[in-house]
Symmetry: C2
Subunit: 445 residues, 2 copies
């Protein structure tokens, strides 16, 4: 059979990895796909780089638009990134009847609804395994492997940079700034790490997973996002003493909510540092590794672990998509797995629960005067809002110090209730600091 | 669209779970599959049980052959188990042009080559996600998610009963027999647990994973199988002291072997208790849970974790297959994922490496006279065979005892070399016991 002809847009880290792995494993991949997958054209602004990697084996151009309109190209692989020219190229490829494989999470999280609608109209596939958790086949697991389940929640370590930083902060007891510099030196964090650190990259990936898990549209703008820049190493230490680790988790959960017309369903969408029990497998995912925990009603908890970034792990996902698309590129569209796991007419616009209504457990740390009655005042405020305390540590005051730290873990409550209680606690004269508030998830059901 | 019509053979634990999950999640599954998946006929010898579960919603029969020849049935789900009537039914269904979904690992490991050849001729699908690791979508990950990779090795905890027993032996320091009885009482082990305990069930699953990872035929009879019945709790304790845990692993690995005509490739296929470093994620998979670690050349290490058995986790895999088959049942066969991941004409009969030629690390325990020079004799025998020692513990002899235990971890060597050395060591007058020999895998590359 004639080789399938791929146009590669962008031959940087992942593009270079894709070219290299396709060449190295050509025989293995062809034995699986039933036909050769050949990169026929490469578009990159750096033609010298493209020449070094491709060694004359593909047509090179600086004009990516010439690739998406090339009648010889069957599948376009978009590895440019961002929402500017990448969006135009992907839409142009779709409108030219070409299938698309992309690793661009920002593009899908922000413009996915437009892109998938266009693909649906054009009868082409847009595959995106590489957009979430690198080489881990989590999109396939969610869209196909768990299709029997009502997915209840997903909790994922889906950003390697922040997981590396948190692992180092815990291991070495160092502050955030110091570890970030180290991560940049080692290449685990970019020169401008703000997308990773602020949780935005994780929020892009979470948006995509929530869409395919629950059959809802992409709604990146509704994700509650908090990063790790303000995290204090002391809280990592106290969490450890209480049997917890702090991870930046992307969490999406199906919950019952009291709507205007009775109990309805809502979806939580949130990225934030989270205490999780140290004994959980996912709490032991260290360094730049990724892991996604998925709870389905039939299957229970399943976990998927691996490298979430890097040239070849991401190329592994890109090429797996190429094999799938190669197999199905002339198939009847209804034989294909729907882009967002659910049939396009079965996607439901389920409400995203506002963060104030989210119910979870909390870790609180505050500095208080070392005098009798302090704890009574604080616990009274919490009790008035039906917030009960599950565990507490009071740091032994240092000789001569007039204040000490109290650390508390609460039972489940709504965010608006804990925030109201915190405002009152901070107003107490005996409370000498802002209240540090972190969320805690047991991840057990 | 008209519902797809499924004939269910066997409505025991997994069959009942499949019926229940399909009914409970009908709307969710239909939103994904694009059409309803309906169990139209159920065959079981226990008609009263079948009636209780189906509540009149399916045609019931005690004659499974009437289901596989029913022209109204599109897909047959075989949940009878074993290699007798199940084989006949599956082949009959295939020859009647019906697609088959099965959870029967013994059948596929032993008769898979015959069954997949028949399916190929008939142009039907035989799907088997439920045959390995219950609800974990490991077959899909290996066949599709990692298709870019040259798989290097797989190491899996793929039998929940034995993992439960080993976890309990370690946690509670109890001997095998006591824990087995407890496991039977709790329902984690069957009344006749021999298939699980002896490693045969794990070997069935390993056979299937090796075939789809490496593109080789099913070769169950070539798996080296050792179970856990002879494992002594004291070795679990010593392993722990050395930083290792003992798990029953199914291991399959691609290695270079010196054949008659130069260096060729061979495949290791083995199930045995294995020491693995305690800090590895897979070492922390406890109780009846399953986990499979897959090393690919591009993706690196990926891990898949979840429930490996039980009514609903296994039903999750059966129904995921039903959704896939529903989507593709009228597709061109070459658009489908090949049964064994590789195109039928690309399956290669790679040599299975004899166990004597396998190279790995070893844990040795032996009782010796408490006298000078003993260690020199033993290490001389090892050194003569180029076997070097990585770590050693000598148990402090108890007051008045004339002998003590030596525990050693070796570097990598071939099984035939360690066995030759052990024979000489056991012949030494100062050695007072058989040498306990366990294998050790670092699982790090």
């Amino acid at each position: 059979m004639k080789p399938i002809n791929v146009g590669l847009l962008g031959i940087g880290t992942v593009g270079g990895g894709t070219f290299k792995v396709l060449a190295r494993n050509e025989s293995e991949i062809t034995r699986r796909a039933g036909r050769q997958i050949r990169i026929g054209a490469v578009a990159d602004r750096d033609l010298a780089l493209a020449q070094r990697i491709t060694q004359g084996k593909a047509r090179l151009t600086a004009d990516a638009f010439s690739v998406v309109s090339d009648p010889e190209i069957d599948i376009v692989v978009e590895l440019i990134g961002g929402c500017g020219v990448a969006r135009e190229l992907v839409l142009a490829a779709i409108n030219n009847g070409k299938h698309v494989v992309t690793a661009n999470k920002a593009l899908l999280a922000i413009h996915g609804n437009e892109i998938f609608a266009a693909a649906q109209r054009a009868g082409v596939m847009v595959a995106f395994e590489a957009a979430v958790a690198g080489g881990i086949p989590i999109i396939k697991a969610l869209r196909e492997g768990l299709s029997a389940n009502r997915i209840q929640w997903i909790a994922g370590i889906i950003n390697g940079t922040t997981n590396f930083i948190l692992s180092e902060m815990r291991d070495k007891g160092l502050p955030f700034d110091v570890v970030l510099k180290e991560a940049q030196r080692l290449g685990y964090a970019e020169a401008d790490p703000s997308f990773d650190i602020a949780g935005v990259d994780a929020a892009h990936k979470l948006t995509i997973m929530a869409a395919i898990a629950f059959g809802i549209p992409m709604q990146f703008d509704k994700v509650h996002v908090e990063g790790i820049a303000k995290l204090d190493a002391v809280d990592i230490k106290y969490a450890e003493q209480l049997g917890y680790r702090i991870k930046l988790l992307g969490i999406t959960k199906r919950v019952s909510a009291n709507g205007a017309d009775g109990i309805t369903e809502a979806i939580e969408l949130r990225v934030h540092p989270t205490l999780i029990p140290s004994r959980r497998l996912i709490a032991n995912v260290e360094g730049a590794m990724n892991a996604v925990l998925v709870q389905g009603d039939a299957v229970g908890a399943t976990l998927y672990y691996g490298k979430g970034a890097g040239a070849e792990p991401t190329a592994s996902a890109v090429i797996a998509d190429l094999v799938d698309v190669t197999r199905m590129h002339t198939a009847d569209p209804e034989q294909r797995v729907p882009h967002l796991a659910f049939q396009p007419d079965a996607v439901m616009d389920t409400t995203i629960l506002p963060m104030a209504e989210v119910e979870t457990r909390y870790y609180l740390r505050l500095a208080v005067s070392d005098q009798p009655g302090v704890l009574a005042d604080i616990t009274r405020i919490l009790a008035d809002r039906q917030i009960s305390i599950e565990a507490m540590i009071q740091r032994e005051p240092v000789e001569g110090e007039a204040q000490t730290d109290i650390i508390m873990l609460t039972h489940r409550t709504r965010e608006k209730h804990i925030d109201a209680a915190i405002a009152l606690i901070e107003a107490l004269a005996v409370v000498k600091s802002r209240v540090i508030r972190l969320r805690l998830e047991e991840l057990d059901r």
